[in-house]
Structures are given as C-alpha cells and as structure tokens.
Symmetry: C2
C-alpha cells in the first residue's frame, strides 16, 4: 500500500542512517525535503544522497522557520495536502529530517496536519545529542541517573530546574542564547563540566570541554549543542 514515510537521517554522517531508512529511501517515488531558506541546498538531502536513486522525484519545499504559528501553518498545510494527494495517487512518499523525526522536527506538524487519511510510518533516526555522547565517550545516563533535553529558548526557570535535578542535561539551540545559558551554568557551578559540540559526526565537528572561554556575546553556529555532565566519565 502506498505510504508516507517520515525518515530520520541522523546527525550528519551518511553512515549513521539506519538500514531501514536506506531501504525505504531506495524504493520511494517522491521525496520531500525541507529547505530552511529559499534556494539553499537541503542538509538533510546531502546526507541521504548516497541512498537516493537518479529516478527519484525530489520536491524541495520551503518550511518557514518562524515562531508564529499563523505565519507558518498555511504553508505547512499546503505541503501536507500535496503529500496526501501524492500518496492517494499510489506513490510512496518520503519526508526526510535531520536527526530523529520525533525530536524538534517539522515532521511532527506535518504528521498532525496529514491525519489518518493515508498510511503513514515514521522511521527513527540517531539524534544529534546521541551522536555527541558517542563522540565524547560520555554516557547520557548510567544506573539510576536521569537526563533531560532542553532548548536554550525555553524559559530560564525551566533550564534552571533541569540543571538542578538531572545528572546530564543537553541544551539544544544554544547559538544565540548564551546570555541565558551561561549565567545558569555559572549558578550551578557547571561551567567546567560542560562539553560544547558543533556539527557532531561531520567533518566540521568542533569540541570544547569546559566553556569558561565563552562570553554572552559569542555567536555560535546553529548546530551547536551543550552536554552538561555532573559526573563525567574518566
């Protein structure tokens, strides 16, 4: 039966795609890819490209990355309608997302807008923070420990509480929010227990251990994540 597949293609290294994602990519009729800025090449498509056949129809679509739901929802609705139409016409359709489709992904919205009218399947992917932990050789969690994933754009109070209760805290989307994050790391005495990683698992990968050199005015790359570990291994 014709199906819409949401496919996580992992953090950057094409080999960190699952065998299932690879197999599905090879049998698709149409692939939708997100384009953050009009005309820009899709990072997700570059990662998936080793598994994509020359005959595949690629539909690059612009998803506005703005906070206002009113601004972005109409465009997403249009893409959702287009996908439903393609699947109802008997096509196997894929939508690829960086990392995992269920972690900070536009795919969640698409899935809600598409609803139950067509067959859908979601293929999980390796997350950026999962990849980071492996690169660093630092467990996200052991034994009775807990960990949390918090965006730097959340309320400061929430980040504060997460740092208070969990053994490991991953802070995502940190690029332009060091003014919020650094004082909180300072407060909890965790500046020296923070790993900074950008572009995990790609050839642009950068790692810092201890972030005392950062200042609130620093502008970091969009793909920068902090891994705060109260009990680092080793």
């Amino acid at each position: 039966m014709a199906t819409f597949y949401g496919i996580g293609i992992g953090p950057g290294d094409s080999e960190l795609v699952t065998v299932k994602a690879k197999n599905i990519l090879q049998t698709l009729d149409i692939l939708y890819t997100p384009e953050a800025k009009r005309g820009s090449k899709s990072v997700a498509l570059t990662i998936a490209s080793p598994y994509v056949s020359d005959h595949l129809e690629i539909k690059q679509r612009h998803f506005p990355m703005v906070r206002s739901l009113e601004k972005k929802e109409p465009q997403w609705e249009q893409i959702a309608a287009e996908i439903v139409e393609d699947v109802k016409a008997g096509k196997n359709v894929g939508f690829i997302t960086l990392g995992d489709p269920m972690v900070y992904s536009t795919y969640s919205y698409l899935l809600r807008l598409i609803g139950d009218g067509i067959n859908t399947q979601t293929i999980p992917g390796i997350t950026s923070f999962g990849s980071m932990a492996s690169v660093l050789g630092q467990p996200l969690t052991m034994d009775e420990e807990s960990f949390a994933v918090v965006p730097a754009t959340a309320e400061a109070d929430k980040i504060d509480q997460a740092l208070a209760i969990h053994d490991t805290v991953v802070i995502m989307k940190v690029a332009r929010h060091l003014d919020v994050v650094l004082p909180l790391l300072e407060k909890h005495n965790l500046i020296e227990k923070t790993f900074l990683v950008s572009h995990a698992s790609t050839d642009k990968q950068k790692i810092l251990y201890g972030v005392s050199e950062l200042t609130v005015d620093d502008k970091l790359d969009y793909f920068t994540t902090l891994l705060v570990k109260k009990h680092p291994l080793g």
Copy 2:
C-alpha cells in the same frame, strides 16, 4: 589500526541498525556479546545476526546485573582486560549493546575500564524511547518543549520533579516499580496521558494508552517503558 568498537544495535528490529554499525559488524574479527543470565541467548546478538559473518569469533560473556559495584566490577575488569589483549594482538573487536551504548549500558563501564591504551570508537544506536515515539507518532519534544528520561529506580522525588517541569517524560525500567510510579502519575494528573510500550519495534510489541487499568501489584515485562506526554499530538 586495530580498534575496539562499542556498537549500538537499536531497540529490536534488525533494520534499525545503522549502516555504520552494519559495516563494522561485517569487518570484525571478534564480537563480545553480553549475556544477562548464564546460558541465555543474547538478545543483542539475535538483532545483529543478519550482519555477522560465519567466520566471526563470538565471545559471549556474562555481565552480572546486580546493583553492587563490588560484585560486578571484578568480572567487568576481566572482560576489559581480555578485550585490550585482543586489540593489542591486532584484532578488530566489537561489543554490541541494545539501544544506544551511551544510554543505560554496561558499555559505559567497559569504556572506563579499558581507558586510553587502545583505539576505541563508539557507534550510536536508536534508543528504545526514540523508537517508541516513532511507533506512537508522538514527538518527544517540539518547539520550546523539553523532555527527560528517568529510571523508575531513581528517587521518587526526582521522578516527581521531572513530571512537574518537563512536557514529556520517559520512565524506563518501570517493570517492578509501579508502586512508586503510579502514585506520582496520579498526583500530576497524568494517568490518562501515559503511553505504555513494551518490546517496541519487535513482533512482541504491546501498546497501551492511558494506564488507569494498571495497579501497583502488576508485574510488567522488563522491556516496558512509559512515555508521559502532557500535550499529546492528535
């Protein structure tokens, strides 16, 4: 250069292994697999078996799953020493773990015990909770949301606080700890917003939405996880 690879083989479906894990498995000389009980077949090995050649030497080793570090550490030290010896003899050696090697895995201890004397590489895997979210079509996190992963064996106070502050909470190892977990879900009025999944992505998969039928005396399967979602999609 001969290397020790820690390989995440995902939650259960052999297709949810990454291409990288598959490629490495196919080139190993020796594979160590964990055996929870003496004589039992390794679940991890069953998942990896499509990618394992007939020539591979398999060393199934018993890791005692007890809380006491004094009881288990000597056996782990012995296995770590054996691995180091194999790699120093020029062999490519793998150790497979269910899910991700950096999430509640014995591999973390091995890595610490092995230290810097040999070349090591960790390959991330799809976690059980990542797979659950895809199966359920329920995002772990969207927009400004946060999520936490907490073991049911943690202090009740920690689970309580995690349920208070995060939008999504994954509660692992829940099988014999419903006496702690159910009252907390009740307290936060989240009984009806809790998904129960066991054996995600395998043919034994079971799903429950809303856990009002559970009682503190129920004994659940070891591979049971709860996904508590304050704002379920749908």
